[in-house]
């Protein structure tokens, strides 16, 4: 391994680390006592290398990044050393730190919109960033700013430098943030979840820009993420963080080939991937990470570990070197490393997701035909003039049967959530027909009938914390839909306990407030609430994207079990194809309000026809460094255009890789003629809308 850290391991002689962190400890005060967010982190970062720090929320990875930048709140207590070129940053005043931030350390934040001051043009922001640290004239700084914008791949950099942050799309904004981070050629770049707020196809572009920026400056990069797929392709070394410490640190290939800390191994087993031939059952890690207040002695993972021994609970194992592997903080690491012990233990797959269960032949629960939804685009503050129409959903049709899961997939702005909400609204759609359980919504006019239909259609929302009223305890949250349909007190009580058991929650949670629950528990409460009225159709709006990987798997399995036992139909909206693959029987890929391809999950994944589906599939990072580097990727140019002026022909024409290669006759059709769904021979139900395939 090249990124060595402990004094015991001889450092490579050819380079000195640009950043060394020694025994970093961070404590935040809290009502329950001090929270030890980071408990002794050591690493060295060499120039030109990328260290990926992976961990779940609350593992201390962001606190580490903030400590390096000196951006922690003043109430945080720091100990240890952060050596930047031999200078200890801890204890420096804000003024001294400000001189270093931006010049020696560059930071790329998660949310590019809030990282850019909205009232300045990006050229101004960049030239200000340059002039803070360098003695430049305004003109020279502007010239450099334009060069930087060009470097990070902003088309027409000179013209765009005058634009304001809100005039850029998410991906372009993140490019600007990267340009700002590298403006003064820092020796260290810190990227905290740089792609989490972006769409999959854009994520791939940004990771490439980040790599380019790193090459250009020769900086060492600390890449912080929860996504194992992102680090697999872009990091040289990986440190896995758990409960405020590194529990495994190794070379990227080695780590993925032979994860040695049981936590790493279980984490990898819990990640849904797109390219694993058949359904590999996901094995969730039971339990939750410990609270970092008054940690008991012993390994913090011991309570969730399948191979824990008594010794694990007595003392916390130190991070030590394992021959030929790197560093692992596990007492049994030697046994695991030489292959005599399976870190996952005997927790075999106990409940497969069963996505491709028996052919769904139940009754049709939902039928959507030619659904159209538009929004007016207005202009002017006082007198709103209608200046255009946003075609959010355009002639979308699909059918969903009991016991079946349909995944609506697409980037943000593709109209998938709008489709879902149109179904849930239970009002006559703007265009087309929606039929729920055999009833055409358009023909329902009495309020009582709508209330009856409501019971059949329920929703599970993306952010379980936002979807649960923080002022109500779990019991009240679950009782609410039952009260709405007029159940009496006694039957509500028994039904609530039934629901808690159904989603695998203990009855004791019923008195708690949502804030006192963990993420996974909250989402289970959200699912239980949706199930309260015994619906036939459950709409799931990004049900997993707010959850940590180790918890995700448990919820995926829960959803599969509920579907099997209760014969539910799921309409799932998600941007994460890997997750969709695990829970869907059929998939509909949406782009700019249109379904461009639809078919069985296996059929879509093994034989994608539409170029957009192919790009979407190839954009997903795979948590396997060899495959990730070797595989062929279709990187799409640009981003999804606005739906106010969709192209007259195929909606995908601006970004289509096939269009560029196609001959003139096909191109003409692409530009002028909307492609109709074409069936794939030999695969019933698989349709795509493209002229060029």
């Amino acid at each position: 391994m090249t990124l060595t850290t402990l004094a015991a391991t001889p450092a490579p002689t050819d380079a000195t680390p640009v950043l060394s962190v020694r025994d970093l400890r961070i404590t935040f005060p809290s009502e329950a006592g001090p929270v030890e967010a980071v408990r002794g982190v050591d690493f060295d970062l060499l120039p030109g290398r990328t260290l990926g720090i992976v961990g779940e929320s609350g593992s201390g990875k962001s606190a580490t990044a903030m400590a390096v930048m000196g951006l922690l709140p003043p109430s945080a207590e720091l100990r240890g050393q952060v050596l930047l070129g031999g200078r200890d940053l801890i204890g420096l005043g804000d003024k001294e730190l400000s001189a270093l931030r931006g010049s020696s350390i560059g930071m790329v934040f998660q949310d590019p919109l809030s990282a850019l001051t909205p009232i300045f043009s990006v050229g101004r922001l960049l030239s200000d960033a340059l002039r803070v640290h360098q003695d430049l004239t305004k003109r020279a700084a502007w010239e450099q700013a334009v060069e930087l914008l060009d470097l990070v791949g902003i088309p027409d950099p000179r013209g765009r430098a005058k634009s304001f942050p809100h005039e850029f799309s998410g991906g372009m904004r993140q490019r600007v943030v990267i340009a700002m981070a590298i403006a003064n050629k820092p020796s260290v770049l810190v990227a905290d979840e740089p792609t989490t707020a972006l769409d999959v196809t854009v994520q791939a572009q940004i990771l490439d820009v980040l790599r380019l920026a790193q090459q250009e400056t020769g900086a060492g990069l600390v890449l912080i993420t929860h996504d194992l797929g992102v680090v697999a392709g872009h990091a040289d070394d990986i440190a896995v963080m758990y409960a405020g410490r590194f529990v495994e640190r190794a070379d990227v290939d080695e780590l993925f080939r032979r994860p040695t800390m049981p936590y790493t191994a279980r984490l990898l087993a819990a990640v849904p991937t797109v390219d694993s031939g058949v359904h590999r059952p996901l094995v969730p890690i039971g339990g939750e990470p410990p609270a970092l207040v008054d940690l008991p002695g012993g390994c913090p993972f011991a309570s969730r570990c399948a191979v824990a021994q008594d010794a694990c609970r007595a003392d916390e194992p130190a991070l030590r070197e394992i021959t030929g592997h790197g560093h692992v903080a596990c007492l049994r690491a030697d046994e695991i490393a030489d292959g005599t012990l399976d870190p996952a233990g005997d927790t075999g797959p106990d409940d497969g997701p069963g996505g491709s269960g028996p052919e769904a032949t139940g009754e049709v629960v939902l039928r959507v035909e030619d659904l159209v939804k538009t929004f007016p685009v207005t202009k002017g503050a006082l007198l709103k003039r209608r200046v255009g129409t946003l075609h959010a959903v355009n002639r979308v049709s699909f059918e969903l049967r009991a016991g079946e899961t349909l995944g609506l997939v697409g980037e943000s702005g593709s109209g998938k959530t709008t489709t879902l909400l149109e179904v849930l609204r239970l009002k006559r759609p703007e265009g087309g027909r929606i039929e729920v359980a055999g009833t055409d919504i358009g023909t329902v006019d009495s309020a009582a009938r709508v209330r009856e239909l409501r019971q059949d259609v329920q929703i599970v929302m993306q952010d379980p914390l936002g979807a649960l009223n923080p002022r109500l305890p779990v019991f009240q949250l679950l009782a609410e839909p039952l009260q709405a349909i007029g159940r009496d007190r006694e039957s509500i009580r028994s039904r609530v306990h039934e629901l808690l058991a159904l989603v695998g929650l203990d009855a004791s949670v019923s008195g708690r407030f949502p804030a006192a629950l963990s993420g996974g528990q909250r989402q289970r409460v959200g699912i239980a609430r949706a199930l309260a009225t015994e619906p036939k159709l459950l709409a799931l709006d990004e049900p997993l994207s707010a959850l940590d990987v180790s918890v995700q798997a448990g919820v995926i399995n829960l959803l599969a079990r509920l579907k099997r036992e209760l014969g539910l139909a799921y309409l799932v909206v998600a941007h994460d194809l890997a997750v969709v693959r695990y829970i869907s029987d059929r998939i509909a890929v949406m782009y700019l309000g249109h379904i461009v391809e639809t078919g069985d999950t296996e059929s879509i994944f093994s034989d994608p026809r539409h170029p957009y589906t192919r790009a979407l599939l190839s954009a997903i990072p795979v948590p396997d460094p060899q495959r990730e580097r070797a595989r062929e990727r279709v990187v799409l140019q640009g981003e999804q255009p606005s739906a106010t002026q969709p192209p007259a022909g195929c909606v995908f024409v601006d970004r289509c890789p096939l269009y560029r290669l196609a001959d003139e006759e096909v191109r003409g059709r692409c530009r002028t003629e909307r492609p109709e769904p074409t069936a794939v021979a030999g695969r019933p139900g698989h349709q795509y809308a493209c002229h060029a395939v």
Binding site: P29, L292, Q455, E480, L517
Partner: protein
């Protein structure tokens, strides 16, 4: 439905769901502390707020039981002692009519407190219902409500207050109604603007999809989540009401003789501030104590209930 499914088969390594439940969640505020206890702790950390509570409690006790310590009633006139400075017989002295200032102050404080607290509660209730309903329903309802609010805000309400309360012959209960009717708008406007963001919350949308009725959504999902705002407005509303009631009474429009409030006492004492300063000093001192204590309590509550506040948080200093 499937009641027999008691354990979650998907929980993998954790066979007992209880094990998962006992794991404490987030890392910032210990959630198992309970919301009420958490707020109390944050509140008690603010020393000024605690001082405010102590002063306020003492004032309430004074107004309730202060009359037990004197043999005079506020309406009794002691013609043997006109305009006497404080003495053993008359602790706070007497006024020109021979009324005991101590007894008057106890009664006046009682009046002022009763008016202030009830006006403040009524104002907040009215404002919460109107403001959050306007925000929830949106559209025309919202526009009409806001038009009314804005109209009432630009009207010189103090003048109208003075005229109306004078016409209604100074019954203190009428004063409560009048002060409420002309006092709810600015609070309602604040509540409206906060509610517009609550209206977009996922849990409100979820409640709509569950088929829950609009009044129920407003009462259960919007107003409770305005909690901290309402409580802070309640305490600061007491201060504002005490001030406007004393101002009205001082000008002769509020409480009318023979009834006594702190405002009428101030008005009586103002003329003789050099010759008989005790007539002014005691009621003035009570008004200051009352408003200052409530301001401290209001500030303390705001810091305690606001999760982003630094002063209330553990490790914060005050």
């Amino acid at each position: 439905m499937a009641t027999d499914v008691t354990t979650d088969a998907s929980s993998g390594a954790t066979p007992d769901p209880a094990a998962r439940v006992t794991a404490p969640g987030g890392k910032k505020n210990a959630p198992d502390l309970g919301l009420g206890r958490l707020y109390l702790r944050r509140f008690l950390r603010n020393r000024l707020a605690v001082v405010g509570v102590v002063i306020f409690v003492l004032l309430v006790l004074f107004s309730a039981f202060g009359s037990l310590f004197t043999s005079y009633a506020y309406s009794d006139a002691d013609f043997a002692a006109l305009t006497q400075p404080p003495s053993a017989a008359h602790w706070f002295g007497t006024n020109q009519g021979g009324n005991d200032v101590y007894a008057s102050a106890v009664h006046g404080l009682q009046r002022s407190l009763a008016i202030a607290v009830s006006v403040s509660v009524l104002t907040v209730v009215v404002a919460a219902v109107i403001g959050s309903s306007a925000a929830y329903f949106g559209g025309r309802v919202e526009k009409a409500t806001l038009a009314v609010i804005h109209f009432l805000l630009v009207v010189p309400s103090f003048l109208i207050l003075a005229l109306v309360s004078h016409r209604l012959a100074g019954d203190w209960r009428v004063l409560i109604v009048v002060l409420t009717v002309f006092g709810w708008m600015s609070t309602a406007r604040v509540i409206w603007s906060v509610s517009t963001s609550l209206r977009e919350r996922d849990y409100v949308t979820a409640a709509e999809f569950m088929g829950i009725s609009a009044p129920r959504i407003i009462l259960r999902h919007i107003i409770p989540n305005l909690g901290s705002l309402l409580i802070v407005n309640l305490t600061l509303g007491v201060v504002a009401t005490v001030l406007s009631e004393t101002a009205l009474s001082f000008l002769g429009f509020g409480v009318q003789t023979p009834d006594v409030s702190l405002g009428t006492m101030l008005a009586d004492g103002a003329g003789t501030i050099t010759s008989a300063p005790w007539l002014f000093a005691f009621p003035a001192g009570l008004v200051v104590l009352l408003t200052v204590s409530m301001t401290f309590v209001g500030d303390g509550l705001r810091d305690a209930l606001d999760p982003t506040s630094v002063t209330g948080a553990a490790g914060g200093r005050r």
